[in-house]
C-alpha cells in the first residue's frame, strides 16, 4: 500500500531520472508536435514563430516560480500557498525602490530579493517550524492566511490599481530581433538568460556547496540527515529563503507585461502549480520542462483559438482552465509527473 521506492543512486541520479521520464516526455512532445501541425499550415510560419517566442517569456517565469514551489515541496512535502504573494510583495518592494526611490532597476530587484529572502527565512522560523510537517493542516492554514495578509497589505500600502513596472531590459518597441518575420524581444531573451543563470546558480548551490548538500540530505531523509548532524531547521530555512528570492525574481521579470496589482502573481501561480505537477513536484529540472510545456500550450491555445472558428471562446483567461485540467490529468495518470521520484504514496 505504501510503495516507497528507493531513491536512485544520487551519483547516477540525473541519467536515471532522464531515462525514466523520457518515454512519456517523447509522447508529450509527439502529441504537441502533431497538435502544432495544423496551425503551422494554417496560419503560416511567422505567426507560429511569434507564438513560440511569446511562450518563452511565460515559460521562464513559470519555471522560476515552479522551482520555488519545488524547493519547499522537495524538502518538506509541503506546498507553500503564500509563494505567489511573497513574490508579489517582493515585486512591489522592487517597484518602490526603482520607481519611488529611483534606484537602478537591477539594484532594486536584488534588494527586493534579499529582503524577501530574509522574510522567507523569518516566516519559516516563526510560523512554519513550530509545526510538525507531516500534519498538513496548520501549515496550509498559515501559508493560506499569510497569502491573504500579504495581498491585503500590498493593496493597503500601494493601492489596488495597476502600476507600471520598469523593465530591467531594453523594452522599447525597437528593441527586438526579427527572425523569420517574427519578433523576438530583447526582454524575452533577457528573461531567458536570467532564468538560465538562476537555474545554474540553484544547481551549483545544491550540488557544490555544503548547505546545498545538507538541503539534499534533508529532502532525502530528514531523520537520517538529523542523525548525521545536519541542522535541519536551518537548512529548511535556507530553502525557504532561496525559494522566496527566486519567486521574487520571477515576479519582477513578468511584472512589466502584466503590470502590478495585488493579485497578479496569484493568477500566474496556478500555471506554476501546473508546471510543477507536470514536471514532478520534487524535480527541479522537470518543473522547468513542465513550465515550458504549460507556457507553450497556453500560448498556442489562446493564440490560435481566436482564429479557429468554433474556438473563439478561448479567451486568454481560459488558459487557467487548461492549467487546471492539466493538473487533474497529470494527477490521474502520472501523479509523479514526468521527472518526479517515485515517492508518491498511493492510498
Amino acid at each position: 500500500m505504501t510503495a516507497i521506492a528507493a531513491r536512485p543512486n544520487p551519483l547516477r541520479g540525473l541519467p536515471v531520472r532522464l531515462r525514466r521520464g523520457s518515454t512519456i516526455m517523447w509522447l508529450v512532445c509527439a502529441v504537441l508536435l502533431i497538435a502544432l501541425v495544423p496551425p503551422i499550415v494554417d496560419g503560416g510560419k511567422t505567426l507560429f514563430l511569434q507564438r513560440l517566442f511569446d511562450c518563452l517569456n511565460n515559460g521562464a517565469v513559470y519555471s522560476v516560480t515552479a522551482i520555488a514551489l519545488v524547493l519547499i515541496f522537495k524538502a518538506t512535502t509541503l506546498i507553500n500557498f503564500a509563494q505567489a504573494n511573497i513574490a508579489m510583495f517582493g515585486a512591489y518592494l522592487c517597484w518602490q525602490f526603482a520607481v519611488k526611490s529611483g534606484w537602478p532597476v537591477w539594484m532594486a530587484i536584488i534588494a527586493a530579493m534579499a529582503i524577501m529572502a530574509v522574510a522567507g527565512a523569518g516566516i519559516e522560523r516563526v510560523l512554519i517550524r513550530p509545526f510538525d510537517p507531516s500534519d498538513h493542516l496548520p501549515v496550509v492554514l498559515i501559508t493560506f492566511g499569510l497569502a491573504a495578509i500579504l495581498e491585503a497589505f500590498a493593496g493597503g500600502i500601494w493601492g489596488t490599481e495597476f502600476l507600471k513596472f520598469p523593465s530591467p531590459f531594453p523594452a522599447q518597441a525597437k528593441d527586438r530581433y526579427t527572425i523569420g518575420g517574427a519578433f523576438l524581444r530583447y526582454e524575452t531573451v533577457g528573461t531567458l538568460i536570467m532564468m538560465v543563470v538562476m537555474l545554474a546558480a540553484v544547481f551549483l548551490i545544491l550540488k557544490r556547496t555544503k548547505i546545498g548538500l545538507a538541503f539534499r540530505a534533508v529532502s532525502s531523509n530528514v531523520e537520517s540527515a538529523r542523525l548525521v548532524g545536519v541542522r535541519t531547521g536551518r537548512t529548511l530555512q535556507f530553502g525557504w529563503a532561496l525559494a522566496a528570492a527566486l519567486s521574487v525574481l520571477g515576479a519582477t521579470l513578468v511584472a512589466r507585461q502584466t503590470n502590478l496589482d495585488p493579485a497578479f502573481m496569484a493568477k500566474l501561480v496556478i500555471f506554476a502549480f501546473a508546471a510543477a505537477t507536470l514536471g514532478g513536484l520534487d524535480s527541479i529540472g522537470g518543473s522547468v520542462i513542465g513550465a515550458f510545456v504549460v507556457a507553450l500550450v497556453q500560448s498556442m491555445l489562446t493564440g490560435y483559438g481566436q482564429e479557429i472558428p468554433g474556438l473563439s471562446w478561448l479567451k486568454s483567461n481560459f488558459a487557467l482552465v487548461v492549467a487546471f485540467v492539466l493538473i487533474m490529468v497529470v494527477l490521474l495518470f502520472k501523479p509523479t509527473g514526468l521527472y518526479g521520484t517515485r515517492r508518491i504514496e498511493r492510498v
Binding site: M1, T2, T77, L78, I79, F81, L127, P130, F131, H136, L137, P138, V140, L141, I142, F144, G145, L146, A147, A148, I149, L150, E151, A152, F153, G155, G156, T160, A266, K267, I270, F273, A274, T277, W313, K315, N317, F318, L320, V321, A323, F324, I327, M328, V329, L331, L332, P335, I344, E345, R346, V347
Partner: protein, 393 residues
C-alpha cells in the same frame, strides 16, 4: 468506580451528572433550549436585515458543514469548496429562472450535480497522499469564476457572466406559513426575511441532523478512522481510496446545498460571492469555530457573515493607526495564521474544555460489551469526536 476513573487534575467540577438520570436529562434539555430558543425568538426581535443575515449564516453553516466533513472529519485538505457552493447556487438559480423549479425541488438536483462534480474533481487527487487535494481544489477555486464567464454553449448567458443574475421568482410566504409564523401585520420585507430565515434554518437543521447520523454510521466511523490512522483503517477493512472519493463527493454535495440556500437567501447569484475572498472567509470561519465539530459549523456560519460586518469596524477603531478598510481582509489572514498557534482545535474545543471543568457528565456503563474492561468506557468528549480508540494511537 466512576470516582476513580474520572479523577482528574484540578478542582472538582461545579456540577456532576450521571448519564441517564433525570437530572442529566434536565441538563440536556436546558442546554438545547439555549440553542433552540434564540433560534425561534431572534427573528421576531431583530430588525429584518439582521434576520436576513442570520438566514445567510444558515446557508454558510451548511456549506461549512461540507467543508468540515473533508477538513475536520477525514483530515483531507480542501481549499476550494467555495466552487461547489457556487455550483449549487448557480444550479438553483438556473433551475428556478429557466425551468420554473421550486426551491425544494432544486435541492436534490444541486445535491446530485455537486456530488458528481465533487467525485470528478476529487478522483485524481484523492488516490495519492499528500497535499495534492489542496492544490487541485485551490486551482478549482481560481478557475470556477472563469468557467462562469465562458460565452460558449450559452454558459455566460445563463450565468450572467460578471454581473450574475437575480432570481426571477422571489420566495414569498404562503398563507399557511403566514399564520404559522405569525407574520400577518408585519411589513412585506420583514415577512419575507422571517419566512426565508425559517426555511433556511429548517434545511440547515435537516443537514446537521443528517451529518450527525452520518458521523455515527459506518461511513462516518470510516471517515474518522481514515483521519486518525489510515493504515489502521485499511487494515480494518476500509477501502481508503473509494471512501475518500465518496466523502469528498458527499462534502461537495453538502456545500452545494449551502450554495442553493445562499442563492435563495440573496435572491441573486454572482461570481464574487463564490470567489477567492469567500474561500478564505469560510476556511477562517471553520478553523476559528472548530475543526471537526458539529457546533463549529453553525458558529463558523455566524463568523463568515458577521466578521465581514465587524472586521472593517475593528480595524477602524485601532488607536493611533490610520488603517484603511482594505486591512479588514488582512484580519482574516491574521486569524488563519494565529488559530494554529493559539487555539488549534478552535473555539468549540476551547469552550468544551472550560465546560469540562465546570460540568462533568459521568457516562452510563454500556449495557453489554464483550470482554469490556471496567473503566474503559469512552469519555463523552472522545465519543463525540469519534476518536477511534485502540487503533494504534
Amino acid at each position: 468506580m466512576s470516582a476513580v476513573v474520572f479523577s482528574q487534575r484540578g478542582r472538582a467540577p461545579l456540577l456532576t451528572f450521571r448519564e441517564g438520570t433525570g437530572q442529566h436529562r434536565i441538563y440536556q434539555t436546558v442546554g438545547w433550549a439555549f440553542l433552540v430558543v434564540p433560534l425561534l425568538v431572534l427573528p421576531y426581535v431583530l430588525p429584518s436585515f439582521r434576520v436576513a443575515q442570520l438566514a445567510q449564516c444558515a446557508a454558510w453553516a451548511v456549506a461549512i458543514l461540507g467543508m468540515n466533513m473533508v477538513i475536520g472529519w477525514s483530515g483531507l485538505i480542501s481549499l476550494g469548496h467555495i466552487a461547489f457552493v457556487g455550483l449549487g447556487a448557480y444550479t438553483t438559480m438556473i433551475l428556478i429562472n429557466y425551468d420554473r423549479f421550486d426551491l425544494w425541488m432544486t435541492l436534490p438536483v444541486a445535491f446530485v450535480i455537486c456530488f458528481l462534480f465533487g467525485a470528478l474533481v476529487g478522483l485524481p487527487a484523492l488516490k495519492i497522499r499528500g497535499l495534492y487535494l489542496a492544490l487541485v481544489t485551490l486551482a478549482l477555486a481560481y478557475t470556477f469564476p472563469i468557467l462562469l464567464k465562458i460565452d460558449q454553449a450559452g454558459i455566460a448567458k445563463h450565468t450572467g457572466g460578471d454581473n450574475g443574475r437575480t432570481l426571477t421568482e422571489k420566495t414569498q410566504p404562503m398563507g399557511w406559513a403566514r399564520s404559522l409564523l405569525h407574520l400577518n401585520g408585519r411589513n412585506g420585507p420583514t415577512q419575507v426575511a422571517i419566512y426565508k430565515y425559517f426555511i433556511m434554518v429548517l434545511i440547515a437543521a435537516v443537514c446537521f441532523l443528517l451529518m450527525r447520523n452520518i458521523l455515527k454510521s459506518r461511513a462516518g466511523r470510516a471517515m474518522i478512522a481514515i483521519r486518525d490512522n489510515p493504515i489502521g483503517a485499511a487494515v480494518s477493512g476500509v477501502p481508503l481510496s473509494r471512501q475518500k472519493v465518496l466523502i469528498f463527493a458527499l462534502s461537495a454535495a453538502f456545500a452545494g446545498i449551502g450554495g442553493s440556500m445562499m442563492a435563495v437567501v440573496l435572491d441573486s447569484v454572482g461570481p464574487t460571492t463564490f470567489g477567492f475572498t469567500y474561500a478564505i472567509l469560510t476556511l477562517m470561519g471553520l478553523v476559528l469555530a472548530g475543526v471537526g465539530t458539529l457546533h463549529g459549523c453553525w458558529l463558523g456560519g455566524l463568523f463568515v457573515v458577521f466578521l465581514q460586518d465587524l472586521a472593517p469596524r475593528l480595524v477602524k477603531d485601532v488607536p493611533f493607526v490610520d488603517l484603511k478598510v482594505i486591512y479588514a481582509e488582512a484580519l482574516y489572514g491574521i486569524v488563519l495564521v494565529l488559530v494554529p498557534f493559539l487555539m488549534p482545535r478552535g473555539i468549540v474545543a476551547f469552550a468544551r474544555s472550560i465546560k469540562g471543568r465546570l460540568i462533568r457528565v459521568i457516562p452510563a456503563v454500556p449495557r453489554r460489551v464483550e470482554g469490556a474492561v471496567p473503566g474503559l468506557a469512552p469519555t463523552p468528549a472522545r465519543a463525540e469526536l469519534g476518536t477511534t480508540v485502540g487503533l494504534g494511537q
